[in-house]
């Protein structure tokens, strides 16, 4: 056979496989997740249901013979492409046309009376049919030359776009729509405007002597203050580490990792234990100054303290990168020309730092807006957007429309900040490129500035150590809240008790359920996140296709959406058919995968930038397909990025709370949601114990993954020397 014939027969086999999958989906597999009310078909498939009078399923069933016919005629033709897409469209349309309680579109109800009893959400059949339609679309696109005819790359693009549409854009759209739904269920502009301009959102009373400001103003004030303080601290820390002969640099770096693996709430609890009205510090201060101890920490002050503790490490890392990237020759030149250290710092160093400062500031601002754990523990009466959204969905004041409106405001604020940050980051690269030679010594800090930096950093480090000491101690004493420091394992027993019962090991501890779910969900989500992230990075950096920029933007967007907004949008979108998955473990996994995927993608993009394309081209010249090249050449080379993505997505899945809190159920509870419940009920010791256990589990898992990274890295280096060096 000639290569052309070989390719044609391979394509024909692939088309056959997709069509067989479609046949399986519409003829055999159960179409819905459970049979709709009153349906007793011979087969629970689309065909069976359609024969029984649910006629709105006929178009999907009939798409099968039509596609077989079109495929035989010309599989690369426009007709086939259109039909495959139409099949997918019909599938989606029938899902939305008939809801759980009856038809959403009037004429379907008149045409098919069976629609009156409604239909349940998509089941195996419907999902498989969707996959088959998309597969056929990708197949045809590849034949028509999409992605230079690479079927694997083309297919990946189609499926990733479909997944992003379903799990990122559809929920946001649904949420935006929910903001317009009035109490009577009608969609109108009036309710949205009422909610948008409600006085408790925008009120400015606190500046003019009133009691409280609107919730947006609260969020903004908090975000700006937190970002300012975090950036200043991050800069001071970075200057000390990079520009002084400070001895404990490694300790400082290690300390900056701690907040990343700290479960939410626990820092807030530790702050209450230290600074609450009966807290150690407050009591001490009250005695020294002979005043009555107050609840000063609740509200803006407390949230700010917790956020500074949590986000300073992030700004520190950003600032450290900026400081280290400054070419010392510039400063040296300035001093050679006669400028003193102070003048050099303000005329040379400072302007070069500015873009980094802006980036760190905006990052901390975004984190502060999205933060949920600290405001809910320490907020007192100080409400911010994320907590208000939470109570509008989960609380007794259930009002999805209001939650949706607030979520859209939060999303807008975050996106604006993100946009600004991207602009600044674009300019930041200018700084790193300036130097032709890195020779020369970085100037040390001017003496006065050094003093300022130390004065800022020492309290911060003491504060961090104090908080983590409480966390370490709190789980294993009687009651840290009342300073009853009798050692005990009672809390550990409450959470993680087990017995040998008749049927084997029985877990009675109250935390087992959520612990198992958390580990399982994180363990499933992490590799999936990495897989999709790296695959997307490969598509963006190595493939050429129409709409690539839009594709890249879309994938990054899911990272910019605050967790609370993701959570609410998932509730709005996936609570009802056709995609009815709330209350399952799948929705938790999906949520993590699409929230963290951009991080895997960024790690992948960075790794791909370092690898020369020529190796992949060589592989393809020698006849390997896109998939083989990816598996045999690319993946082994980007393994470190793979493992970085694994660690990040695993840890985030273990500690995330803002999105998860909306998605947990009695069956699938997550550790963070459980901890939040304990904090709310005032069971601080139990919350701290659980957090400590979680942190230990995470450290063990990270070490495990790091061990694997180390091993692979060695292998990579050997490969690298053997293959790449001769090529240069």
């Amino acid at each position: 056979m000639t290569p052309d014939e070989l390719r044609a027969s391979r394509a024909a086999r692939e088309r056959l496989a997709w069509l067989a999958l479609l046949a399986l989906a519409v003829l055999v597999l159960p179409w819905h997740q459970s049979l709709p009310q009153g349906a007793t078909p011979l087969l629970p498939s689309a065909l069976g249901l359609a024969l029984e009078g649910r006629g709105w399923l006929w178009p999907v069933v009939l798409a099968l013979p039509v596609l077989i016919w079109a495929g035989m005629r010309d599989a690369a033709g426009r007709l086939f492409l259109g039909l495959a897409l139409a099949g997918f469209g019909l599938l989606v349309a029938q899902g939305f046309a008939v809801g759980l309680r009856g038809p959403q579109v009037g004429w379907i109800g008149t045409l098919f009376p069976a629609a009156g009893s409604g239909q349940t959400g998509f089941g195996w059949g419907a999902f498989t049919a969707g996959i088959a339609f998309l597969g056929l679309t990708a197949h045809c696109l590849a034949l028509r030359g999409f992605c230079r005819g690479d079927r694997f790359a083309g297919g990946s693009v189609v499926f990733i776009v479909a997944l992003l549409s379903l799990f990122v854009f559809f929920p946001i759209l649904k949420l935006a729509l929910a903001a317009f739904v009035g109490p009577d269920g009608e969609i109108a502009l009036g309710p949205f405007l009422n909610r948008l301009f409600a006085p408790d959102i925008w009120r400015l009373d606190c500046f003019t002597g009133g009691r409280r400001c609107g919730v947006v103003i609260n969020s903004l004030v908090l975000g700006l203050l937190a970002a300012t303080i975090c950036t200043a601290l991050g800069l001071a820390l970075a200057l000390i580490v990079a520009r002084t002969s400070f001895r404990f640099k490694q300790t400082l770096r290690a300390l900056s990792i701690l907040p990343i693996i700290t479960p939410p709430f626990v820092v807030g609890v530790a702050i209450i234990v230290l600074f609450g009205r009966t807290g150690l510090v407050t009591q001490f201060g009250a005695e020294v100054f002979d005043v009555r101890p107050t609840r000063w920490v609740y509200g803006l002050t407390g949230i700010l303290m917790a956020q500074v503790l949590a986000f300073t490490p992030i700004t520190f890392l950003v600032m450290l990168g900026t400081v280290e990237a400054i070419n010392p020759t510039l400063e040296e030149a300035s001093q050679t020309l006669g400028a003193g250290p102070v003048k050099t710092f303000f005329k040379i160093t400072w302007p070069l730092l500015r873009p980094g400062i802006a980036a760190a500031f905006l990052l901390a601002f975004i984190e502060s807006l999205a933060d949920f754990g600290n405001p809910i523990v320490l907020g007192g009466g100080y409400e911010v957007l994320s907590t208000r959204i939470f109570f509008a969905v989960v609380g007794a004041r259930y009002d999805l429309g209001n939650a949706a409106t607030l979520a859209m405001i939060l999303l807008t604020l975050t996106l604006v900040a993100f946009w600004l940050q991207n602009r600044w980051l674009g300019r930041k690269s200018y700084v790193t490129v300036t130097g032709k030679s890195d020779a020369g010594l970085a100037s040390t800090l001017p003496f006065g500035l050094k003093g300022v930096a130390w004065a800022v950093v020492i309290p911060f480090v003491t504060f961090t150590l104090g908080v983590y000491l409480i966390v370490l101690l709190g789980g294993f004493v009687q009651d840290i809240g009342r300073w009853d420091l009798t050692p005990t394992f009672a809390h550990l027993r409450t959470a993680f008790a087990f017995e040998m019962g008749l049927t084997g090991l029985e877990f009675y501890g109250s935390a087992w359920n959520s612990m198992q779910t958390t580990l399982l969900v994180s363990a499933i989500a992490a590799p999936l996140t990495t897989l999709i992230g790296i695959l997307t990075a490969w598509l963006v950096s190595r493939q050429d296709f129409k709409g690539r920029n839009a594709f890249e933007f879309g994938t990054m967007l899911s990272f910019a959406i605050p967790g609370t907004v993701v959570g609410v949008s998932y509730v709005a979108a996936f609570n009802v058919p056709p995609v009815d998955i709330t209350g399952t473990a799948a929705i938790l996994v999906i949520c993590f995968v699409f929230r963290n995927m951009p991080v895997g993608m960024r790690a992948g993009l960075a790794a791909f930038a370092q690898i020369d394309r020529s190796m992949e081209e060589a592989s393809q010249t020698m006849g390997a397909s896109g998939a083989t090249t990816l598996r045999r050449v690319v993946v082994p080379l980007v393994k470190p990025a793979v493992f970085t993505a694994l660690v990040y997505s695993f840890v985030t899945a273990m500690t995330a709370v803002s999105a998860v809190i909306f998605l947990v159920s009695a069956r699938h509870n997550m550790a963070t949601a459980y901890i939040m419940g304990r904090v709310e009920a005032g069971e601080y010791a139990l919350a701290i114990t659980y957090s400590t256990v979680l942190m230990i589990v995470m450290i063990v898992c990270i070490l495990l993954i790091q061990f694997l990274v180390g091993a692979r890295k060695l292998g990579r280096r050997r490969e690298f020397q053997g293959q790449v060096t001769p090529a240069e």
Binding site: R13, E14, A17, L21, Q33, S34, L100, G121, G123, I131, G135, R151, F152, G155, F159, L163, D200, R211, R212, G276, R277, T278, T294, R295, Y298, G380, G381, F391, V394, G395, A396, R397, Y398, G481, R482, S510, N513, L528, L531, I532, N575, V576, D580, I581, G583, T584, A585, A586, V589, V593, A627, S665, A666, R667, G677, R678, E680, A681, G682, E683
Partner: protein, 336 residues
Amino acid sequence: MRKSTIISATIAGFISVPAVASADELVLYCSVQEEWCRLMGESFQRETGINVLMTRRSSGETFAQLMAERDQPRGDVWWGGTGDPHLQAAEEGLTAAYESPMMSELQDWALSQAEASGNRTIGIYAGALGYGYNRDLVDDPAPACWADLLEERFADDVQVANPNSSGTAYTLLATLVQIMGEDEAFEFLGQLDQNISQYTQSGAAPIRNAATGETAIGIVFLHDAVAQAVQGAPIGSVAPCEGTGYEIGSMSLVEGGPNPDNARLFYDWALSPEAQALGAEANSFQVPSNVNAPVPPESPSLDEITLIDYDFAPYGSSEVRQHLLARWDAEIGSQR
């Protein structure tokens, strides 16, 4: 086909088998304090082998959850929490009617819940409203009446839950309205608001905060205050001199829940003297509704407290409840 196998495996991984409950499970929505909820779940699990999936939420939140899930109920039994939201759920048709064989063993006040709701809910315990104060923070004379809470020395030092989320706080609202009349009650609450540092989400949180000294006074059910004192906190409890209301903690079966048989099994078990004796073990000192269940010696005796004639039927109805909550939101909640 390799590409498709990877991708379809990925997608298949996302779409788990829909949540259809298996035969040996029970989804329990619990609205008392966590410790008691856990003990109930564990004990039932030990006794029957039925796996209990328990969620602890305040009664207001549970009611909101039942409303949100009404098209596809995911819970089986709602156990505990003040009676008003249970009555409201019955009125909304969220809960199912059931006549337990245990009903003959119950106190009259427990059966009154069933009568008011057409057997859709039943009383499981009772407890009087009051407040607890931290003895280290409150100087003599100790407060003894509702009116004492308005004193200036308690500025920013009183906590109570938000009546929207907590049945405890709604009971306070309804009690004051019944003692003083509606307008006077809201005037009182408006003045009290000056002394309130925070409206918590959970009804028992104020007393926990009083126990650790984060606030001086927490308005709660007296058994919650006693529980803190029993655990060693410097808490004194006050049954206000003007008289006070009480709750009938209730239980309801969720209409259309996934495991109706197990739900009825739990319902009958929860009304038995043995199950009701568990409360004291979990530091919960409510008065049990089964006449044969032992009353914990620590329980605040209902006979020694000036109880008002709390009118459960109107104050548990949606209409009155929504009216009072809307007024609270307008005059107090939204002013903060």
